[in-house]
Symmetry: C2
Subunit: 174 residues, 2 copies
Amino acid sequence: MTIVLGIDPGSRVTGYGVIASEGSKLIYIDSGCIRTQAAETLSEKLDIIYRGVNEVIHLHTPQEVGVEQVFMARNADSALKLGQARGAAIVACTFNKLPVYEYSARQVKQSVVGTGAADKIQVQAMICRLLGLEKAPQADAADALGVAVCHTHMIQGMIRMAGARKLRRGRLRR
Amino acid sequence: MTIVLGIDPGSRVTGYGVIASEGSKLIYIDSGCIRTQAAETLSEKLDIIYRGVNEVIHLHTPQEVGVEQVFMARNADSALKLGQARGAAIVACTFNKLPVYEYSARQVKQSVVGTGAADKIQVQAMICRLLGLEKAPQADAADALGVAVCHTHMIQGMIRMAGARKLRRGRLRR
């Protein structure tokens, strides 16, 4: 069983989602939001994100982490804020010796819904169906679960590919 | 004696400077650069910054930290990269329970040279004079020392102000 943590970092809300996979089966474990509104200073905000991610890691002991990649930020100011939140979240993972993989929003949509042009509602609905959830989680938590699903699909794909390569190699040897 | 760590974060080079103050006397302790060029992935880069800052903290046990504030980044892409580096550096400090203060480049110049419009060469020359250095440190390390000097001046100013307030209060009570 592989446990994967997905993170959707943000300066105000950082979503997280934890899923497990056994073969092709996906199992929902946990999801939620780390909120920084109560913090007065930047360093307090980043500390809340760092400690929040650290806590989720200690609670669920994931083996790998997926983080949403940023291609285009709206402007330099919001990019700086988002960058700081991402930095805090990512080092919480590397400090716990977890490998971190980045996925673009397009890759996540492609992996979860089957098309990179899917909208938020479609992604949330598919997340619910794939993980057997009755109610869609909060938007940032759902995005984080999407990244976790995307990374899990990616691992499964790699395992399948490795299997196929072994098979082909086997055939060639005959 | 108060030991202050100054940090000038950057995605490729993060400068650090450690100084001590005893009364109005400033003592140079250490300065240098944390370089991330060898890293292949973003998470490795941020991990190098986090561990580098953490190491400096453990080596010199500063009580307070000053970080250069960013007002205007060149563009969204460089702002995101800078933000990630800042996030990694700042949480290394908060994880060690150190208070982090932010200073703008203008505040640093004002504090070190006496005018917010000073250029890099003037700042470096003043850093050398204030800390009794024969040779100017590498540019990012010098900037970090500048932030440390600025924060130390700020503390000293606050102590003087608190002293003045005590004096005034004493006078009023008479």
